[in-house]
């Protein structure tokens, strides 16, 4: 790994998906948003949690798809199987769980006390004799498809998902599944925020490198130059339309290294969190990198429709965006690491990294609301995309194909 002949930076993109302007209606039209709800949020595999957070039988989490009003309970059964159900009691429809996470012996409705086993069967209805002809077998909680990839739990609200999760995430492959599924990854920190912007604008901001030099001029500009980001797309993929790789500049003196950065770097890897090749490979990272390159920092992938997954040597960053309406969304970011800080130096190092990355993210998020307002008021009707922004074009194509109920070329 890390061969010297790889030093030439990769091409930054192509125009293979066309060069036309893209209309902006898809970000503001309520009609289009209805199509997204129906064809995207009800049919895509959605990332809802981490399997290792539901270790014990009875561990559950509650995942809300706000815009659909759908609440999903994902629960670990006594047989260790993960199951997902609509969070809806089959007596008169009350929600069964209200907290984000918890552990329970059974799913007990607090309206009249119907209780359901961890596999969704109705096991007790108080005073069952009061009902005319109650058949418990007919009152099973309504199931939702659930599967695990890379240690992350995904659900799919379709009655019959068109693709298995493995097929959906195909370009990422088994090496990824194993590496991300490594049980040592644990959640370190994260944030969420609400935005008055279409959900896709928060995704768009993370899948091109063209913005880096300008947007991040007061933070990381120079250390990750826009010219060192390679854009790519997977036209045959259903669930992973595109991605970006980022590299350090060949001239390592670019960017501002503050005394704090340099000091914190003595105690660990900070915002550009990178392990040596050998450590990375030993932790199962072999075969994960798209590029085998000494200046490589991260790959990111769009997991359609709403996840941007950053993979680094030693750090995973997941950004999730869920719509509330066409004009409002919730954005979340979560960090996973394989090590917990064990000394003050390491804490200091993490703090520096967390703050640096927080500030960078705040810049990424800054433009979305202004763009949305401009789209909405009609000031802008079309956008221009260059080679480096080709992932947005791939995203857009995938989006249109999804709302038209279209199959993806070459998909299983």
């Amino acid at each position: 790994m890390g061969k010297a002949e790889n030093l030439a930076l990769p091409e930054i993109g192509s125009h293979a998906l066309g060069t036309g302007k893209l209309p902006v209606d898809h970000y503001v039209s309520p009609q289009f948003f209805e199509l997204e709800k129906k064809h995207i949020f009800r049919k895509s595999w959605l990332l809802v949690g981490r399997a290792s957070d539901l270790k014990e039988p009875g561990d559950y989490q509650n995942f809300l798809v706000d815009t659909l009003g759908v609440s999903v309970v994902v629960v670990r059964g006594r047989d260790q199987q993960l199951r997902a159900f609509y969070n809806a009691c089959t007596h008169r429809g009350s929600r069964l769980v209200n907290s984000s996470t918890g552990n329970t012996r059974a799913l007990v409705c607090s309206f009249h006390g119907w209780s359901f086993s961890l596999d969704g069967a109705l096991i007790n209805a108080p005073d069952a004799a009061l009902f005319a002809d109650l058949d418990p077998a007919q009152e099973h909680l309504k199931s939702i498809s659930v599967d695990v990839w890379g240690g992350f739990i995904f659900i799919n609200l379709a009655e019959q998902p068109e693709w298995t999760l493995q097929q959906y995430l195909m370009p990422l492959g088994d090496a990824f599944d194993r590496y991300l599924g490594n049980k040592d990854w644990s959640w370190s920190f994260g944030w969420r925020a609400n935005f008055r912007a279409n959900w896709k604008l928060l995704v768009d901001a993370q899948i091109e490198g063209y913005h880096v030099d300008m947007t991040h001029r007061k933070t990381i500009a120079g250390t990750v130059p826009g010219s060192s980001t390679a854009a790519y797309f997977f036209p045959e993929s259903v669930g992973v339309p595109c991605g970006v790789s980022a590299y350090r500049p060949e001239d390592s003196s670019r960017g501002v290294q503050t005394p704090l950065n340099l000091l914190s770097a003595k105690y660990g890897a900070t915002s550009i969190y990178t392990k040596p090749e050998r450590t990375f490979a030993a932790e199962g990272g072999e075969g994960v990198l798209k590029e085998d390159h000494p200046l490589w920092i991260f790959d990111n992938y769009l997991l359609f429709p709403n996840i941007v997954l950053f993979v680094q040597k030693g750090q995973i960053i997941i950004q999730r965006t869920l719509p509330i309406s066409a004009d409002e969304c919730i954005w979340e970011v979560d960090f996973y690491h394989t090590e917990k800080p064990a000394s003050f130096g390491h804490i200091f190092n993490m703090e520096q990294g967390v703050i640096q990355i927080r500030d960078v993210l705040s810049e990424d998020l800054y433009t979305a609301e202004g763009i949305h307002a401009n789209f909405k008021c009609g000031a802008i009707t079309h956008v221009n995309l260059n080679k480096q922004e080709v992932p947005l074009r791939a995203y857009y194509n995938r989006l249109l194909s999804a709302v038209q109920g279209g199959k993806v070329k070459g998909a299983p």
Binding site: Q61, T101, K218, V256, T258, L263, F344, I347, S362
Partner: protein, 116 residues
């Protein structure tokens, strides 16, 4: 095992440590945002020369063995991370090219959606 590293002499810094030694990142962020650039710079300039020594001192303890009396020192040291960009990159207390950081609500777990 090398000999214990004594606590550095910090009497000139105690006022800064008291002012900036706040327990969470969010507290330290608020402190930066409500301070003047002169105050931020005074803290930074006073603390920076002592920082390597302070970190070496704190770093010698296991995490649960750091003397409780040193909590303000721990937090003030971490506050240096919070003022770093203000001093070295922006020359102002607010990053005016980003959203207000206070809109980013810290999560407690991957599944935390704030509807507990």
């Amino acid at each position: 095992m090398s000999t214990a590293i004594p606590r550095p002499e910090l009497s000139a810094l105690e006022a800064h440590i008291a002012a900036w030694g706040l327990p969470t990142t969010e507290h330290r962020l608020s402190k930066r945002l409500s301070s003047s650039m002169d105050e931020v710079r005074a803290f930074y300039d006073a603390m920076l020369p002592k920082l390597p020594e302070v970190i070496d001192y704190l770093n010698q303890f296991p995490l649960d063995g750091i003397p409780k009396n040193d909590n303000p020192l721990v937090w003030a040291t971490l506050a240096m991370c919070e003022v770093d960009n203000a001093v070295n990159k922006w020359n102002r207390v607010v990053l005016d090219t980003g959203i207000d950081i206070r809109r980013m609500i810290p999560k407690t777990s991957f599944s935390d959606r704030g509807y507990e």
